[in-house]
């Protein structure tokens, strides 16, 4: 049998840039998806954090942080979860799979996109908090919060990717919403966690958004006082489990 070896490889960086550019352009051309995703957490924050705020001193700051967590989870879950499920349903994902596209390019482009989205939501929330909610923080606090939010979207990218690889295109949007909204509420992102009954506070320990919000609230000394290591390890564990599941689903053959 004839054996041909191709040693030269395509330029990986070039693929990353093009893939990300294509995805980003696609998103900007689909304002029906991007604008609601951006406005949802901001609208909630304006309602509960500023207009109907129960405590004008701490509430705007507290809820600015938790709604930022809520805001960054959305694009991570949707761009991965719903995006992949739809492309799989169309057969487009299959075409990319049989092409020599490196799997890393697909992931890097979508993670970058989630970062861009997360950054946009965080900047908008910060601006509204500072201007209308009189949120006053030190420089290092603003910067640390922004970093936590952007990097903190990674575990949710992993969760979204797994959902996208397992869910059917037709049920993906509803299922992702069914996970996203209750998980946000139960993690204390809509209302401070201490407002929830004791049982629900216990349950929140199992949810990754709760741990991300506690990490962020530590920056302003508003957290419940559990160690950083606990929150980081739960988030890391969630990431690892879902990355494992996603890799398993991706390499599974004979999928229908």
């Amino acid at each position: 049998m004839m054996k041909t070896l191709i040693d030269d490889k395509p330029n990986l960086m070039n693929i990353f840039v093009l893939e990300t550019k294509t995805e980003t352009l696609r998103l900007f051309r689909t304002p029906g998806f991007s604008i609601p995703t951006l406005l949802f957490p901001i609208m909630f924050y304006i309602f509960f954090g500023i207009v109907f705020s129960m405590n004008a001193v701490t509430m705007p700051t507290y809820l600015m942080i938790t709604y930022a967590v809520f805001g960054i989870i959305g694009p991570a879950l949707f761009s991965f979860g719903v995006g992949i499920a739809i492309e799989r349903g169309q057969g487009w994902f299959d075409l990319k799979e049989v092409s020599p596209m490196p799997a890393s390019a697909y992931i890097v482009s979508r993670v970058t996109l989630t970062f861009i989205f997360a950054a946009a939501i965080v900047i908008l929330l910060f601006a509204i908090g500072a201007i209308f909610g009189d949120v006053r923080l030190m420089h290092w606090q603003w910067v640390s919060l922004a970093l936590i939010f952007v990097v903190g979207s990674l575990p949710f990218c992993a969760i979204g990717m797994t959902l996208g690889l397992y869910l059917k295109a037709s049920s993906a949007p509803a299922t992702v919403n069914l996970i996203y909204l209750p998980m946000g509420f139960l993690s204390g992102l809509w209302l401070p966690i201490s407002f929830l009954p004791e049982v629900m506070q216990q349950f929140a320990n199992l949810l990754p958004p709760y741990h991300l919000s506690q990490l962020a609230l530590k920056i302003t000394d508003m957290d419940l006082g559990f160690p950083v290591a606990l929150h980081v390890s739960v988030l890391a564990a969630y990431s690892l489990i879902f990355i494992f599941l996603a890799v398993k689903a991706y390499h599974k053959k004979d999928k229908k």
Partner: protein, 313 residues
């Protein structure tokens, strides 16, 4: 074409594939040579797409071996030398043709020149259109463009001409000829006998997951080229099955006008008709209908099972 003295670039041996115990492919053997167009011909559900997906590494065979360029199916070395056109129902809407193609070109070490892709696919005039505005045929052409943009040595095309109009089909087959002359091997599935006949070097007929015939288009056609001869007659003709090359006779008698309707299946319509006229049979409303592929497959199945029965006796 003499392919015996050449090494195949892809070969599959005794491949079986079942889905939940239901066999989709049974002991399929196949070799593909350089610069050859091989058509997999079969009715819907024959296992054509399963065969392609197995060769692409998307399905793992239940048993058997697959080797492309000496590598296992689905490996990166194979993917970089292969292009594939799958049955895709939708593309991401908000990218232009140009963006799609440039992205796919970046996946390959030696992509085809962009202008050359445009020439082969005939998409130059609409390169800046978003994929959501494309017609079914234009979408197929884009998928073809994506399949060839890596300068593939081996091209898989699953039902490539579905929803293409006549002009698009014509330029598509021209592109296939040009690629072939550059040394590209092409494996395509189709359920159009005439396409397989005109454009392929070799045909493999697949039915119920089994290879039932393999050969040059001419050889295959001579075996399956049955035509139907229909006519009506006032007379009750009993001797029709004696006519040369007639394989099957069906008769319907209508009492109201005393007319008999006949349908003959002939493996050589010209010979049979000459005989009908030579015998001076009284014949009205004569029509000849080209054999449909499904009929041909049915016929082959019958021939094969008859052969098996004879061997058993």
């Amino acid at each position: 074409m003499n392919t015996n003295n050449r090494q195949p670039i892809a070969s599959i041996r005794q491949v079986c594939k079942s889905f939940d115990e239901k066999p989709a492919l049974t002991n399929v053997d196949l070799d593909l040579y350089q610069a050859e167009v091989l058509a997999i011909l079969g009715p819907n559900g024959a296992g054509k797409t399963t065969l392609i997906n197995t060769m692409l590494g998307r399905l793992s065979p239940t048993s058997g071996e697959i080797s492309l360029f000496g590598h296992p199916a689905g490996s990166m070395q194979v993917k970089r030398q292969t292009g594939a056109m799958l049955q895709v129902s939708g593309l991401p809407d908000m990218s232009t043709i140009k963006e799609h193609i440039q992205l796919f070109r970046s996946y390959y070490p030696q992509p085809m020149d962009y202008e050359k892709i445009m020439e082969f696919s005939g998409l130059k005039a609409i390169e800046n259109q978003f994929s959501k505005t494309l017609s079914g045929g234009q979408k197929q052409r884009l998928l073809f463009a994506l399949a060839i943009c890596g300068n593939p040595k081996l091209l898989f095309l699953d039902e490539p001409t579905v929803s293409m109009d006549i002009t698009a089909r014509k330029s598509f087959w021209q592109a296939i000829e040009a690629l072939k002359s550059q040394g590209t091997s092409i494996l395509l599935t189709t359920h159009y006998l005439d396409e397989a006949d005109q454009f392929s070097d070799r045909i493999i007929m697949l039915n119920n997951g089994k290879v039932i015939r393999e050969g040059t288009p001419k050889a295959i056609k001579s075996q399956i080229n049955t035509k139907k001869i229909r006519f009506s007659s006032q007379a009750n003709i009993a001797s029709l099955s004696a006519i040369e090359r007639v394989s099957k006779v069906s008769k319907v008698s209508k009492v109201s006008n005393g007319c008999h309707y006949y349908e003959l299946e002939s493996t050589c319509a010209e010979t049979s008709i000459r005989q009908i006229f030579d015998q001076q049979l009284e014949v009205n409303d004569l029509t000849i209908i080209g054999g449909a592929l499904e009929d041909a497959f049915e016929l082959i199945n019958k021939q094969d099972s008859a052969l098996n029965n004879q061997q058993r006796l």
